[in-house]
Amino acid sequence: MARVGGFARQVQTPVLLAALVAVITLLAPLGGLAMENRAMVMLLNVSIVVGLYSFAGLSGVLSFGHMSFMSIGAYAGALITIPIVAKGALLPNLPTFIAHAEFSYPLAFLIAGGVAALAALIISLPVARLPALALSLAMFAVLVIAYQVESNWNSVTRGRQALLGVPTNTTLGVALVLAALTIFFVFAYQESRFGLRLRASRENELAAAAIGVNVVRERRIALVLSGFVIGVAGAAYGQYLGVFTPNNFYLELTFLTIAMLVIGGSLSLTGAVIGPVLVAFLTYFLQQGETVTGPGLQQIGLALAMLLVLIFRPLGLTMGSELKLSSLRALSFSGLRRRGASQAANTSSSSSEPEPRTAEGGPR
């Protein structure tokens, strides 16, 4: 009984996070097609950033190269779902085993994730052994390698030309399910003994090694696992776009996803979910501003937001804490208090919220 209770207390974080994105998603269609589209992008970003978090957040080693796994997933997923006939016309020189493959989308996503995971495994052979900072930089080289190969491998990717006719299987519902599954999957990994060992190495690499954690092995596992998650997200992203080039998975996306993770806070799953959600709203407002300033405000604003977070709150907005019911309660009470509901302040005097200043901080 106690164990079940402990489990429920633990699992509330992914449940709450999934519920949060679900609520936003369900509200979005009220704002019309444009809002629905934004919700879709937000959901896909949640999947990608949570995937990035499963490596960078849990290991404490930043990666500039995970979007290469995303592109691999997108291309792999597209190549095995485009109808065989269309593929023959589009890519006449495709190797036969790909040319004759056609899968339905849920299975295709998994296969795409598998291909990306395989790529991650190969890359992890040299990369996982590097010291942390060198690993970050090496992953940047990986990004460049993937980009160049995809940009020039005309017979498979059409090179710099767009890959067309990708079935658009990623509906809002699919994206929501994927985001939720990703949250639960990564949460399970985070709480598993593998995740625990990886997090131990994040707090103190030497100490973790001293208690028998094989840091290289744990990082390798995380690389492969995050490669899988991001590969699946990449396949879904490709089947949302319908048309893409290697540029869709290069620097801009690398920056955006890292910015989301940094803003949300890379030390908790909550940060990895909140980041994309907040950035979705921020982007909306910045895009409104772009009607005045012209294009570019979005990127500049996001970069400034990221710098401000790094300077004033370097651990990100969540600072490593996870979303829990208790924190929600504290939040809603302080919200009520701000509106001056004195009875709420009274009932919450026993709550764990530490700030006593609200007593005189309320209006009047």
Partner: protein
């Protein structure tokens, strides 16, 4: 024989340019633990500087451009890196990544996405023939610039008090402050040097590429990263060795690869680097220094 010598000359030219890119990155990492992503944007600023000063005589334009880049480097340090000084290398790195993205997009906003073409004197792209070997003006320029900077830096570091302070700060920053070395002065000085080198690299890259564009800093900064990483982060001589190997490797792949794969040259070079790191994860000249 002539063909081989030609490749050697090409490799030396490329390695010199790469050394000009890698050295300032290694220098700043050595002093403050920052791998500066935005070094590429200093180069970009230099290229746009040449575009703006195009109407002036070339020496004056280059002089002003380098001055602008140095100022930009100092401003960058003051506004973005000083507030996060002392953070983990990861935080510093990601901060410079944000600065890099910010500057790229500012450039896009100001100058647009189409490259601005810049005229440079024709002789720099002309080749002189020495015993059957073609040597381009810009190759000579790269070699001279790299030699002057590396040599100058070595003398500066060995012979001047400021250089001594830089060496001390690179070894133990807190202790250097305890003997009275001003942290801000050393770091600003290092950024000024990196700015000057970025300016020179910008000129060489503009001669080669003929234009300035917002994302032009990316390719050079990756080269700088890979070279310093190969050398073992934090080692100056390692960074130079990395640059040399990278230059040689790039020329070698260009020679060996069939035509249709040449456009993926960098992919092969970096792939080669990853294989190399498989053998030597700590880099070629591992630095034993632990950063705080």
């Amino acid at each position: 024989m002539t063909a081989l010598l030609q490749h050697v000359v090409d490799a030396i030219g490329l390695a010199s340019l790469y050394a000009l890119l890698a050295l300032p990155v290694a220098l700043i990492y050595g002093i403050m633990g920052l791998v500066n992503f935005a070094h590429g944007e200093l180069i970009m600023i230099g290229a746009y500087g040449l575009f703006i000063f195009a109407a002036l005589s070339l020496p004056l334009a280059i002089f002003l451009m380098i001055a602008v880049v140095i100022v930009a480097a100092l401003l960058m340090e003051r506004s973005a890196f000083r507030p996060v000084r002392g953070s983990t290398p990861e935080t510093l790195l990601v901060t410079s990544f944000a600065v890099s993205f910010l500057l790229q997009n500012l450039a896009l906003m100001v100058f647009g996405s189409r490259p601005k073409s810049i005229e440079t004197p024709g002789f720099l792209n002309k080749a002189v023939s020495v015993g059957g070997i073609q040597i381009e003006g810009v190759t000579i320029l790269s070699v001279v610039a790299a030699t002057v900077f590396i040599g100058g830096l070595v003398i500066f570091m060995r012979r001047t008090n400021f250089g001594m302070a830089m060496r001390a700060a690179a070894e133990d920053f807190t202790m250097a402050r305890l003997v009275g070395i001003r942290a801000n002065a050393v770091i600003s000085g290092t950024f000024a040097i990196s700015g000057a080198m970025a300016g020179v690299a910008a000129f060489i890259l503009v001669v080669q590429g003929g234009s300035a564009f917002a994302t032009m800093g990316l390719a050079p900064v990756i080269i700088a990263f890979v070279a310093t990483m190969m050398g073992g982060l934090g080692s100056f001589s390692g960074a130079l060795l990395g640059a040399a190997l990278l230059g040689a490797g790039t020329v070698a792949f260009e020679v060996v690869l069939p035509t249709q794969l040449r456009s993926s040259r960098e992919a092969f070079v970096y792939g080669g680097v990853l294989v190399l790191l498989l053998i030597r994860p700590q880099g070629l000249i591992p630095s034993r220094k632990e950063r705080v």
